[in-house]
Every structure is written in C-alpha cells, then in structure tokens.
C-alpha cells in the first residue's frame, strides 16, 4: 500500500496532544487494512522520522437507527506511533 493511502489523517484531540507532549507518541487515523509494519514504514517515509513502536486500535462503530432502517458505519483504525527521542512531527 502507498504510504499516503495508509495514513488517512492525524488525530488532533486533547488526549493525542497530551501523549504527544509526554511520550512523543503521535496518533493517526489509518487504513483498516494496514498492519503495524506498513504503518511504521508509511510514517517514516512520509515524515522522515524514526518510528520506535506502533500500537493500533480498531473502533467498531455502533449500529444506528435512521428513518430508513439500521445502518452501521465501517470500523475505523487508529494508530499511535512512538518516535525516537528528539524527533517530532509537526501536526499543527
């Protein structure tokens, strides 16, 4: 998979901002099909940094009832990437 397909967008929230500052860990929304190795390579090639570790979480969406029936959005995958000390990604 191409790196830009793997990384969909950075997640910028209060929690991700805190982990960024404390542990040098950056959070991204990634493609559901990407594995940790692909994510590591994608981050390294896109941002030119050294990735020490990747953790992922798959969030299943809840079924919602709309006027035309029950719908369920596809699950989303979140990756938290830990960078080597002294390295950083400018997310904002």
């Amino acid at each position: 998979m191409h790196p830009s397909t793997v990384i969909k967008k950075p997640i910028v929230t209060e929690r991700s901002t805190a982990t960024m500052a404390e542990d040098n860990r950056f959070t991204f929304l990634v493609d559901r099909r990407a594995d940790k190795t692909a994510i590591k390579h994608a981050v390294e090639s896109l941002y030119g940094v050294k990735v020490l570790g990747v953790t992922t979480q798959v969030r299943k969406s809840r079924e919602r009832r709309l006027k035309y029936g029950y719908v369920q959005a596809p699950p989303t995958k979140k990756a938290v990437v830990r960078l080597a000390e002294g390295q950083s990604i400018e997310l904002f």
């Binding site: 997640i11 910028v12 929230t13 209060e14 991700s16 901002t17 904002f92």
Partner: protein
C-alpha cells in the same frame, strides 16, 4: 483588558496639514504594545474556543494560532488602530468630522515584534464664525394640491406599476437593456456590466448611462435595434466619486440585448391593487400623500433659504478639488434628500448624475454647507435618536409605497442608515434656525414659481 484599553498606547504621532479642512495623522504604536495585544487576543480566544476533540478552553495555543492566526491579527490590528486613532485625536485636539479615510484598515499590516505604523487622513471642522442665527426673515410658499397634480401623480403611479412590452426596435423613451463597457483613453476598463439599463432620451437629448450624464445621448445612441451596438464618447465628470474617471475621455460601448416599453397599468386595476373601491377613493389617498409632500416642500423651501444665508455669510478656505470620499458623501446626501422628497429611483440617479457633472465651485459650496451645518448642529447641541431615524424612514417608505421595515432593512444593508441620521441632524439644525426666524407666507408664484409638482 480594561486597564490596557485606557492606557496610552501611542509611541509617537504627528499631525500635518493636507489641504483645507484636512489633516494627516501619522501614528506609531510600540512593538511591545503590539505583542501585548496579540497575546491578549490569543488568550481571549483560548478561553472561549471550542474545537472538536477538545474541551472548552483546552485547545493548545499553537493550534489556535495556526487555525485562526489571521483573524487574531486582524482583531488585534482593528483594536490598536481604533484606540491609537482615538488617542491621537484627543491629544491633538482636532475636531474631526466623520470617519478617517485615505488608508484602508485591511492595508495596515501588523507584525509581531515590530512597531505598528500607519497614516490616516481626517476631515476637520474648519475655523469660522457663524453669522447671527436669530430673527432671519424667511418666506414660506403657500402650495396647494390641485386636481391636475393628483391626476399627474396617478399617471406616474400607473407607469411605475405598469408592465414591460418587448420590442425589436426602439423609440424615444424606451428602455434598453444590454452589456455596457466603459474604457478610458488609456484603454483601462472601469465598468463592464451585463444587464445595464439605459433609457432612450424621450426628447432625443441628454440622458444617463453607467451613472454618467451625456449631453447628446439621444444623438450618440440613436434608436438601436436588438443586437445593435452603440459607442458613446463622454468626458469623465469632474466630481465623480471614482477619481480615476475624472476628466478622462471615456468610451462606452453598449450592446443592446432587449428593448422594453412601459405599458401603464389600467387605472381600474390599480384601484383593485390598492384595495380601494373606486378611482375617487384612490385620488383621495393620493391627495393625502401629496399634502404630506407639500409640507416637505415648504420645509425644504425654508431650509434652502437658511442654507443660502449661511453660505453667503460664512467664509473660510475650501479645497480646490474635492476628494473621492467627499464626492461620495455629497452624492449620498443628495440621494437621501431626493428619497425624502418622494422621487423614484430613476429620477434620483439622474439627479445624482447631474451632481457628478456639476462644476467644482458647486461641489465646494456643497462641502461648505456640510461643514457649516455640522458646526450649527454642534453649537445647538442637536442630537438624533433612533426613533427619529425610524420615523424618517417610515415617511420615505410611505412616499415610495414600501413597508417601513423593508425600507429600514434595505438602508441598513446598503450601509445608508448613517446618511439618514446625518440628514435628520442637518434638517434639525436648519429647523432650529427656522424656529427663531420670522416666517411670512407667500404665494407660490411670487416665491419663484415653485409649485407642488408630482415629483419634486
């Protein structure tokens, strides 16, 4: 913030003459003040900002600066400029009239860590002595609403409410719609308007196109057919509010796309539209409207006499050439005055076009009267309440057959409410002088032939 707002933020300022009744203010605000204000703006936003993923007040500063940087800067710049300008005016003791001009707020650039320097032109109240304002002898024309006038007004309303009939060829008095393009002698394009409307001069003589009065429009335009193109040459009016047009040899190309003739509305249909029972009832309603107009005309006649007296008896140096800002204000004043007198839009625009073509001396007199009335209003402590403005708007709406709220909103949207306030202030100043004058009634014929007309 409150303390900062009251603190002196001026590092340096100078006042220089830039012509009669005009001054130029050069203002400098220290770099520390600029930084402080930028910080304050961010801090205020930090407390209030709510972004997805963040609780209120928890958004990182860097993120805010990235997303709203230009807004933060603009807000800080607006605050600094307004405050510094106010302080400079207070310290210099200038009696400023209206808003500053010459520099657009958006052109002033604010940079963190650097002092903010900007220049503004202001119009100041010239120094002069007012003549005695009590016991003036004025004549009030006695005007009557005749049956002929009611008839004329009825005919005019039928025309205004009439429908359009399309033709392939034009006759005098027809309305032409098309693409109008104005270029000057250097080939610079000033206007290119699709759907511009031009009336073939009814008498084949002068007429207006793109807001410019052309003495021989009938001759230059001819009587074109659909698809025809006419080229009109005219000299740019010396008092035009767009300075780039003044004195230039202008060429207007007008391509006709449609020709319309106004078919007056049937009187019986008009009676039904007004929700009345008969033509007589409609005429009674019109008579009431004209009687109201008579009062306005009498007041206008008295005010014009006072204005003439003031112009003749007050002397002070006037600028040789009025600025675009002053010209625009003069046009707006005239527009408001004519709306108040009950003219329709087309007539108003024709009068405004005439004002653009007026001589420099006339324009200066207009400016002079503005200064004098401003001083009279100040001396007599004349103030205008919002209620008075609403009443005036209601009166204008009645004249134009509109709902007052609709007219009020229209004026507010086109930023003309300030002109209404200004007009009322001037009228009140003149009325205060009239209140102390000796007024005698005179027959309209003796007054100079000014009778009540359907339009003026």
């Amino acid at each position: 913030m409150a303390d900062t707002a009251q603190a002196d933020i001026l590092k340096n300022f100078t006042v220089t003459d830039s012509g009669p009744s005009r001054k130029r203010l050069e203002i400098e605000v220290a770099a520390e003040t600029v930084d402080q204000r930028l910080r304050d703006s961010v801090d205020t936003l930090l407390e209030e900002a709510e972004l997805p993923g963040f609780r209120r007040g928890r958004v990182p500063k860097a993120l805010l600066e990235k997303r709203f940087g230009s807004n933060i800067k603009n807000e800080a710049r607006n605050q600094i400029v307004a405050e510094a300008y106010q302080q400079a005016v207070e310290k210099s003791g200038l009696k400023v009239i209206g808003d500053p001009f010459g520099t657009q707020l958006k052109d002033i650039e604010i940079v963190a860590g650097k002092p903010l320097k900007f220049g503004l032109d202001v119009e100041v109240q010239p120094e002069f002595t007012l003549p005695p304002l009590e016991g003036l002898e004025l004549k009030r024309p006695v005007l009557e609403v005749s049956d002929t006038l009611v008839e004329e007004e009825l005919t005019k309303i039928c025309l205004n409410e009439g429908s359009l009939e399309s033709h392939d060829s034009s006759k005098a008095g027809d309305y032409l719609t098309g693409n109008a393009r104005m270029v000057d002698q250097d080939g610079v394009e000033h206007y290119n308007i699709e759907g511009a409307v031009v009336q073939c001069p009814p008498d084949g003589g002068k007429g207006m196109i793109l807001g410019v009065l052309v003495g021989d429009l009938g001759k230059q335009l001819g009587l074109p057919k659909i698809g025809d193109s006419a080229t009109i040459s005219v000299k740019g009016p010396e008092q035009h509010e767009v300075e780039a047009l003044r004195g230039k040899d202008l060429t207007i190309t007008f391509e006709v796309t449609s020709i319309d003739k106004i078919i007056p509305l049937d009187r019986q249909e008009l009676v039904t539209r007004f929700g009345l029972e008969s033509e007589d009832a409609l005429k009674d309603r019109l008579r009431e409207r004209l009687e109201q107009r008579v009062k306005v005309q009498q007041a206008t006649a008295l005010r014009q006499q006072v204005a003439r007296y003031l112009l003749e008896n007050v002397q002070f140096p006037l600028p040789e050439r009025i600025t675009a800002f002053q010209a625009a204000r003069a046009m707006e004043r005239r527009r408001m005055e004519l709306m108040y007198r009950g003219m329709d839009n087309l007539e108003i625009e024709q009068h405004v076009a005439e004002l653009r073509a007026a001589s420099a001396a006339e324009a200066s007199q207009n400016l002079k009267l503005f200064f004098i009335l401003n001083r009279v209003a100040e001396d007599m402590d004349v103030n205008v309440s919002e209620n008075e403005a609403r009443q005036r708007v209601a009166q204008m709406a009645f004249e134009r057959g509109m709902r007052p709220e609709q007219m009020f909103n229209e004026l507010r949207q086109s930023d003309r409410l300030q002109s209404v306030f200004l007009q009322i202030r001037e009228h009140k100043a003149l009325d205060a002088i009239i209140g102390k004058a000796k007024v005698t009634d005179t027959a309209a014929s003796e007054f100079g032939g000014q009778g009540v007309q359907a339009t003026d």
